[in-house]
């Protein structure tokens, strides 16, 4: 317990978290500080490429593990299952309509890649290793949750249902393609490839992450400011409780898979995190009647900061405890 608190305390005064807080405060205070859209997208391309490449290179070093396949399957199942739990919790805890509840549920089954990145950077600074293929697991967890949510809705006779175009958009979503593509490149070129571009993808990584989180703080703050109305206590409570529930589901899977402490922490973080890029876009197409300010505010304004500050230390402490790391 003290450990968690110490870690959470350390975590809280890291440049990464403080950069997020700076953005959040600046937006709340209505400063005109802003990061251009192109720069935000450029940083996200950098982060996805770097994290994917490093995962692949680490896989190349440690060899393909039989658990890779099982981990991928576990990721898909987690992503598909979590929306059902989230949906049930939302129906109990909040007054959201079926449509809004299903849309929110999709976000929690899917993952937030920045939360993943932030977790890996905590692990790295603590010297805790994790399986390189967790990057591929992250990619595998992006989409299944969307299908679960659409199925939940179609059961009610609503929703548009999937067309071929939407399928392609979800599966060939830019961030999935880049993450997996960089992973494959990293795996193919291995440590040699990593040595060539290490100075680009490793040394400045944390600094870029700071500026990216500054931007995310700004976006989250702007969202919170204009969406205060939707944050009823029930909805807020869900935004904090759901990641913990998700992380426990991830922990169960990690134990079943026999992951390392670091890998278990990552799978917990993935399960706990909520998408705010790929899933919102899919929801706008498939469930346009669902209110975007609910799911965006929850995912980016509540759950993301919770995971960043308290969640990651908690999940890491739990993972270390249960895997006996």
């Amino acid at each position: 317990m003290t450990d968690i608190l110490t870690l959470a305390g350390q975590n809280l005064i890291s440049p990464i978290i403080l950069s997020f807080a700076l953005g959040l405060l600046a937006a709340m205070a209505r400063s005109d500080l802003s990061v251009p859209e192109a720069i935000a997208k450029g940083m996200s391309i950098y982060l996805l490429f770097a994290i994917g490449f490093k995962g692949g290179a680490s896989l190349a070093e440690h060899g393909v593990d039989a658990r890779l396949v099982f981990a991928l399957i576990a990721g898909v199942l987690l992503s598909a299952a979590i929306p059902f739990v989230a949906f049930a919790m939302l129906r109990v805890m909040t007054g959201l309509s079926t449509l809004d509840a299903a849309a929110v549920a999709a976000h929690y089954g899917s993952i937030s890649i920045v939360t993943f990145v932030a977790a890996t950077s905590v692990l790295t600074s603590q010297g805790i290793a994790y399986e390189g293929y967790m990057v591929a697991v992250a990619a595998a967890m992006e989409a299944p949750a969307i299908l679960s949510a659409l199925w939940l809705i179609s059961r009610q006779g609503a929703g548009r249902g999937m067309d071929a175009g939407l399928w392609r958009e979800i599966l060939l979503n830019g961030s999935i393609v880049l993450l997996l593509g960089a992973f494959v490149i990293g795996a193919a070129t291995g440590q040699e490839g990593l040595a060539e571009i290490d100075a680009f993808i490793t040394a400045p990584f944390k600094g870029v992450l700071c500026l990216f989180l500054l931007d995310m703080g700004l976006v989250a703050g702007r969202g919170l400011r204009s969406a205060r109305g939707v944050l009823t206590p029930g909805v807020l409570g869900f935004g904090v409780l759901m990641p913990v529930v998700g992380s426990l589901m991830g922990m169960a899977a990690a134990l079943a898979l026999g992951l390392s402490p670091g890998g278990a922490a990552i799978l917990m973080v993935l399960s706990a995190s909520a998408s705010y890029i790929a899933v919102p876009a899919a929801m706008r197409v498939a469930l346009p009647e669902a209110n975007p300010s609910i799911y965006l505010t929850l995912a980016l304004g509540v759950t993301f900061p919770f995971n960043l500050t308290l969640g990651i230390p908690i999940y890491l402490a739990l993972a270390t405890a249960v895997t006996g790391g």
Binding site: E37, D215, P280, A281, R284, V285
Partner: protein, 102 residues
């Protein structure tokens, strides 16, 4: 200069729907359109800005110049896409140079 009557249709629609809209335009026999970026706005679903956004959020403006007799078909096609989505459609009378292009 000789000009020709035409209609200028301006569709402000969510960026995620851009591809679907332009596909429908092409199906409806539209020979050309132009997409302009939009940096922010406000409507019944609140105010938004594109600043710092990472995903394909926000709106785009699609401008389409067409011969008046094609308007009805175009609007019907557009309506199918816009119907369930946020966004606005306006039509203005205009004159164009080089009518053979429309």
């Amino acid at each position: 200069m000789q000009t020709h009557q035409a209609k200028r249709v301006e569709i402000i629609i969510e960026a995620v729907m851009e591809r679907r809209l332009t596909e429908v335009l092409v199906e409806a026999g539209v020979t050309g359109f132009t997409v302009l970026p939009v940096s922010g706005g406000s409507g019944r679903s609140g105010q938004w800005t594109r600043e710092g956004q990472v995903g394909r959020s926000g709106m785009v403006a699609v401008v389409c110049l067409i011969r008046p007799d094609r308007l009805e078909g175009l609007l019907q096609a557009v309506f199918r896409v816009v119907n369930r989505h946020i966004g606005v459609v306006s039509v203005t009378d205009c004159e164009v140079l080089r009518a053979e292009r429309f």
